[in-house]
């Protein structure tokens, strides 16, 4: 699983990287839209996979909503409540269009974790039976593992896991044979938040559908970095967290394919999700309101929609080229350090802009502490993937992950800080 030497084409070393003029102009203008990064110009923020920084326009959208349109949506007949209702509806339209979905297929939640729990309660609890199988992968985040453990225990179902190849990709041969066992559900991540691997979602969905399995896609690590179109993938359920795509915390999205709407039961009960209420029973609203009980996170949804506009304005071409370049530069810089062990595949095309690694015999926390002293923010720990780390035979790892605001200068600063860490820890250079 560790990066073998000499598998990456030799690209110039980090010391003499020079950003293309065009790219660096866009990066600096892009960076200048992030107030936190402007006010802390020395900070190197390399933890976008955990949460991204927020552009001014998203912050403004939240403030603007509260200053001009705030009221409880769906509940008032007065004009202000209508403007809140409209803002919320417009946010849903933006999300739906971005994902290639219909408005009623989009449910707002707080985050991806809540989204997966929603699918668990609203669909899986009714459809998973004793003796059934739920198919996952060995690279799932705890959020896409623990809910399924609960369902499996409750229902007497079993969990199977698509294993990884030594390179850190899904083993598609085993995936095929596991799918032949006809699982009811395949729940998988689009991009691994540890290995960076990009999974062949379209192919897996086709295979899953031929055996009658439904597919839930966890798009947390892809939605800000590459196009995610629910129709193209053909997935049945999809979740992501708004805070990982430059949006506010408390904004999450669940997509549920229209064909499944008749099979859903509510997740939470109460106000807003009802049609008629009597003393002893009630009838429920249609999708998406069926799954949105209580006053929704309106400002957060509005902020998320603005974040999506921000991403669209930059465009996938630029975002993907920029982040691939950062990733390749960083991979090569890391590879030049003999003490670094990189996790995951070495084929840049199979990888997104995040890289996990370990430094010599040092624990990831120690490395992150030393980098922090140099103003470089990296993640350390198991990244909510304990079983995967166990499988790799390591307790923890360091992880860098990129956003649109990162530059090659950031990578140089990071690699210099890492070299410094080797000195502090007295690792052989």
């Amino acid at each position: 699983m560790f990066l073998p030497e000499s598998t990456i084409d030799s690209v110039p070393q980090y010391a003499n990287v020079s950003a293309s003029a065009n790219d660096s102009a866009i990066v600096s203008s892009c960076k200048s839209s992030f107030p936190l990064l402007v006010s802390q110009p020395k900070l190197v923020y390399f933890d976008s996979a955990a949460t991204t920084q927020k552009p001014q326009e998203v912050i403004d959208a939240l403030q603007d909503f509260y200053e001009t349109a705030n009221a409880n949506p769906h509940r008032g007949v007065y004009a202000l409540s209508v403007s809140a209702t409209n803002a919320y509806a417009a946010a849903r339209e933006t999300v739906a269009e971005f994902l290639g979905a219909r408005n009623e297929e989009i449910v707002f939640v707080r985050n991806a974790t809540e989204g997966i729990n929603l699918v668990m309660h609203s669909w899986a609890q009714q459809h998973v039976k004793q003796g059934d199988t739920i198919l996952l992968t060995e690279m799932e985040h705890h959020s896409n593992l623990v809910p399924w453990q609960v369902v499996a225990k409750e229902k007497g179902a079993r969990l199977d896991f698509i294993p990884l190849t030594p390179e850190g990709l899904l083993d598609m041969n085993v995936a095929r044979s596991l799918l032949m066992k006809k699982p009811v559900l395949l729940a998988l991540t689009h991009v691994s938040n540890v290995l960076g691997s990009i999974n062949p979602v379209k192919q897996l969905v086709q295979l899953a559908h031929t055996v009658g399995a439904k597919v839930l896609l966890d798009a947390c690590q892809s939605v800000a970095h590459m196009p995610v179109n629910v129709q193209e993938f053909g997935v049945d359920f999809m979740v992501f967290s708004g805070h990982k795509i430059y949006g506010p915390t408390g904004s999450g999205v669940v997509y549920i394919k229209k064909e499944l709407h008749a099979e859903l039961v509510p997740f939470l009960f109460g106000g807003d999700m009802i049609q008629e209420v009597h003393w002893h029973d009630s009838s429920f609203a249609a999708m998406p309101y069926l799954l949105e009980a209580g006053t929704p996170p309106v400002a957060e949804a509005v902020g998320l929609a603005r974040a999506i506009d921000f991403v669209r304005a930059l465009g996938w071409d630029w975002i993907q080229t920029h982040e691939q370049e950062l990733m390749i530069t960083c991979l090569n810089g890391l590879r030049a350090m003999p003490q670094v062990k990189i996790l995951g595949t070495t084929t840049p095309a199979m990888r997104s802009g995040l890289i996990a690694f370990n430094l010599g015999d040092m624990h990831a926390h120690d490395v992150a502490s030393v980098l922090d002293d140099a103003g470089v923010c990296i993640r350390s720990g198991h990244h909510c993937c304990m079983p995967l780390h166990e499988k790799l035979g390591i307790a923890a790892s360091c992880r860098v992950s990129f956003g649109v605001y990162n530059s090659r200068e950031d990578i140089v600063a990071f690699l210099n800080a890492l070299t410094k860490a080797c000195e502090v820890f007295k690792l052989e250079q």
């Binding site: 015999d361 040092m362 624990h363 990831a364 926390h365 120690d366 502490s369 030393v370 922090d372 350390s380 720990g381 198991h382 304990m386 780390h389 307790a395 923890a396 502090v424 820890f425 007295k426």
Partner: protein, 128 residues
């Protein structure tokens, strides 16, 4: 934080290992980082006769528990039980950032659980 001494304790831990038939032992993990520490003690005439630890984790957590094991050797269990967080941090002798306090105090907490078990006491406030 990473003075020579800390790295030395990390790479060459003192009192690392397992006791034959410990009188008391406790094991705990830090779910945030996956660090694990187990402490074992033998008690003779109310004093710590032997103390050792096993586990894996960052330099701070491993060095801290190793120093602690050295420190409690031969001391009365009641005195070890009264040992405070502040004393633990003094013993470690380096400034520990807020984010790393849990690492620095994991072994201390595990040892505290051992003395609690031995003395039949409850763990006091402030141990989340």
């Amino acid at each position: 934080m990473y003075q020579e001494m800390i790295l030395d304790y990390y790479r060459n831990p003192r009192h690392f290992g397992e006791l034959d038939s410990p009188d008391v032992q406790h094991r705990e993990a830090n779910p945030l980082c996956g660090d694990i520490i187990e402490v074992q003690m033998k008690v003779k005439n109310g004093a710590v006769n032997q103390a050792c630890f096993q586990g894996k984790g960052c330099a701070i957590s491993q060095a801290a528990v190793s120093m602690l094991m050295e420190h409690v050797q031969g001391k009365p269990v009641s005195e070890v039980h009264a040992f405070s967080k502040e004393q633990m941090l003094d013993l470690l002798g380096i400034p520990v950032s807020y984010a790393r306090l849990k690492c620095a105090l994991l072994g201390f907490k595990v040892m505290k659980m051992c003395t609690c078990k031995h003395l039949g006491r409850e763990l006091g406030e402030g141990f989340a």
